[in-house]
């Protein structure tokens, strides 16, 4: 059974799981138009990283399958 551990939809420069866990934030990035309707759902927004945009998110406590 697959379990979704991280589910980030980049509608803003701040992001987190739907339950607000494992939050993070892009620096030097801007919100922009997303791809719209896709096979994975509708994404009206995205983040544009431009020349220096990036994010770092702490995953301490995240339990994943490494096999």
């Amino acid at each position: 059974m697959a379990q979704l551990l991280l589910d980030y939809r980049f509608t803003a420069t701040d992001f987190a799981n739907p339950d607000d866990t494992f939050s993070g934030s892009f620096t030097n990035a801007a919100v922009t138009q997303g791809p719209g309707e896709t096979a994975l759902g509708a994404f009206d927004r995205a983040v544009d990283l431009g020349a220096t945009g990036k994010a770092q998110c702490r995953l301490g406590g995240l339990s994943f399958d490494d096999r």
Binding site: L6, A29, G34, T38, L40, V47, K54, C57, L59, R67
Partner: protein, 216 residues
């Protein structure tokens, strides 16, 4: 889900983790506006290696794509827009221990290098593999490419870099030097590139010392 905005001249990281060693990045293709998508894992025996879209899929800048790296036991698979592109096999599937607890988006793990100049819309990380995805990965374990990677990885060789080309399983791959386990394949391919045909299958089987249909 990503979109590269500008021509890719060198590695640009979409995502990389220090908690579980994996990286997904774009690199320069045959043309700067035709980037290559690469997904690697930090394997204990083979080091950083994994599947690439090179010679299999022509990505374009300015276009949205979804990509998925799937790792299952001894095989890493690369999907683009829900279609499997290729796999990379490891004789020993164990991964290196994580060196940190972080996920980096749009940059390498130092936060400075391999910056991604583009757009991101979605990032998801699953524990476990959805059944339909796993079945498509499993199916690739019967393909010649899987056996070639398995045998070359066993010999401590890597199929990456700008090295001597040969033609295997319908795509151009690269070797650092003539490979013992696949010498006949490589020799043949160097003189006359072969395509993935029934005729080629026995060659691969002979080289790899195992026939796909004889394995589970």
């Amino acid at each position: 889900m990503f979109q590269a905005k500008r021509p890719i001249q060198s590695r640009q990281n979409l995502a990389e983790s220090t908690a579980l060693p994996f990286a997904i990045f774009l690199d320069k293709g045959t043309r700067s506006d035709r980037p290559v998508l690469v997904a690697t894992v930090g394997n204990k025996a083979a080091g950083w290696a994994g599947p690439t879209s090179q010679f299999r899929l022509a990505l374009k800048t300015g276009q949205w794509y979804s990509t998925t790296l799937v790792y299952d036991m001894d095989t890493a698979a690369l999907f683009v827009d829900d279609a499997i592109v290729t796999v990379h096999a490891f004789p020993d599937g164990r991964l290196n221990a994580g060196r940190g607890q972080d996920l980096f988006l749009g940059t390498w793990v130092d936060g400075r290098r391999h910056h991604f100049n583009g757009k991101l819309a979605l990032f998801q990380w699953y524990s476990g593999i959805p059944e339909d995805v796993e079945s498509r990965l499993d199916e690739r374990r019967s393909h010649p490419e899987w056996f070639i990677y398995m045998r070359t990885s066993s010999a401590g060789l890597r199929w990456e870099g700008r090295r001597r080309p040969c033609h295997l399983t319908g795509t151009w791959v690269h070797t650092s030097k003539p490979i013992n386990v696949a010498a006949s394949c490589i020799t043949t391919a160097w003189t006359r590139p072969l395509k993935y045909t029934e005729r080629f299958m026995p060659n691969i089987s002979a080289c790899a010392g195992v026939h796909p249909s004889a394995t589970s």
